[in-house]
Amino acid sequence: MPQQQGKTKLDSGWLAARSTQVQLTGIQLTTTHPPPGISSPWIPAVVPGTVLGTLLKNKLIPDPFYGLENEAIIDIADSGRDYYTFWFFTTFDCALSGNQHVDLKFRAINYSAQVYLNGHKMTLPKGMFRRHSLDITDILHPDGKNLLAVIVYPPDHPGKIPPEGGQGGDHEIGKDVAAQYVEGWDWMTPIRDRNTGIWDEVSIYVTGPVKIGDPHLVSSFFDNYKRVYLHATVDLENKSAWVAECTLNIQVTTELDGNIFLV
């Protein structure tokens, strides 16, 4: 049975553990020694989400937005980066047929990460606002059961919050390409982990030999908006080893009242 094409989100069944409490490597975690489930140091994780989001979900920290509770959470400047460097682990089923291909996609992580899948290591480079897409077609497990571990590192310059606070703390976070409010602002308390984590959706994306990338739609208007053109540009990637004869289709439909479709 070929794997269903398109996007499948990986947003359940995740575990997390502080990196300093895990003695295994990513290769061991995704081959011989996967976590045995929810048992110390592994806790249920919130993905997409940040390290603090997971710790709060497990009641391991107080809610930073109540009273002065944020003062009870150690800041990364005092704890050091390793304290908020976390492993995230999950498994997923994916067995391809014939000429299918699959990408592992992270729509955003903060701030950089190493990904291990079935013993293979890949890097997610730095930057909070960029998508990552890894072709994992050739490293899926033959039996379809895949082990995924991601170690996520905080921003390079988390900075230190001066006693007087202030907008953007000591501004160190401005050296990175990341959200700057996390060092605190006049309206906001500092975020202790600087939002480290897999903060946007993770998915696997299955296609045939040719994949559509980032279409761009532009409209142009003439005769006082009576004459309108829709221009569409797409990237196509042929991942197979032979020429792909393709038929590209574009269709524009609109829902009329009562679910009657006009094509």
Partner: protein, 233 residues
């Protein structure tokens, strides 16, 4: 008449970029901001069928026909907006982000954004110290008619105007900043509610970044609606 198929041959292990011949619409329903008309959305679907395989990939997006222009009014120094040729008085709200721990949800986005509509706003300004907002945020702005002013990740406080003055040349890695900006633009550019990209909050990005962004974000002359382009088309 709004269905078109084209044959494309893609060599092995390569990327190609393909532009469809433009699709013509006569008096389509336009997308308007909240308070000016309906937020009419069309479903644009693109599929690629490969000979000997079948449908290889598909993509779908809700698209609105609208033209957004904005210029600086030299009399007041303010920015004037027009949508589909009609001047619009901007009533907007500041937006930092949904939740300080990035617990982002469609339901929260829908609630917050509909709230802005109910307050009779027609723009949301995404502050440069927060996020490049997510597609779900823009999806509800498309539906509820809120224009979006999206800032990149530069603030006066952290980039050259703060006390103490710090990072006057912005982030350390300008190439990384531009890589993130370009990928974010690709992620969000098809949303009809996206009205304006802004270099930063209370601060212009460093010269090289600002120039690159201005170049990247210009609409290709081919798509400018003007008389000469008319003959080109």
């Amino acid at each position: 008449e709004h269905l078109q198929s084209q044959h494309v041959s893609v060599p092995p292990n390569t990327h190609v970029q393909y532009t469809f011949p433009q699709l013509f619409f006569y008096k389509p329903n336009l997308w308007w901001p909240n308070g000016m008309g309906e937020q009419y959305l069309y479903d644009v679907g693109i599929t690629v069928d490969v000979k000997g395989y079948g449908e290889s990939d598909s993509w779908k997006h809700r698209f609105g026909f609208r033209k957004i222009e904005s210029t600086i009014d030299h009399a007041t120094g303010g920015r004037l907006f027009k949508v589909n040729g009609q001047p619009v008085f901007i009533r907007g709200g500041n937006w930092i982000l949904s939740d300080g721990l990035l617990r982002l949800s469609k339901k929260r986005y829908q609630t917050d954004i509909k709230f802005h509509t109910d307050m009779n706003f027609n723009m949301i300004r995404c502050w440069g110290g927060g996020l490049a907002e997510r597609p779900e945020f823009y999806h509800y702005c498309d539906i509820y008619g809120l224009l979006v002013w999206q800032e990149f990740w530069i603030t006066g406080d952290c980039d050259g105007r703060g006390v103490p003055v710090s990072n006057p040349n912005g982030p350390l890695d300008h190439d990384l900043f531009l890589l993130c900006a370009r990928d974010t633009i690709k992620l969000l550019r098809n949303h009809p509610s996206l009205a304006l990209w802004v270099g930063g909050n209370e601060q212009t990005p460093p010269e090289d970044i600002n120039t690159a962004l201005q170049n990247d974000l210009q609409l290709h002359p081919y798509f400018q609606s003007s008389n000469e382009t008319d003959s080109l088309l």
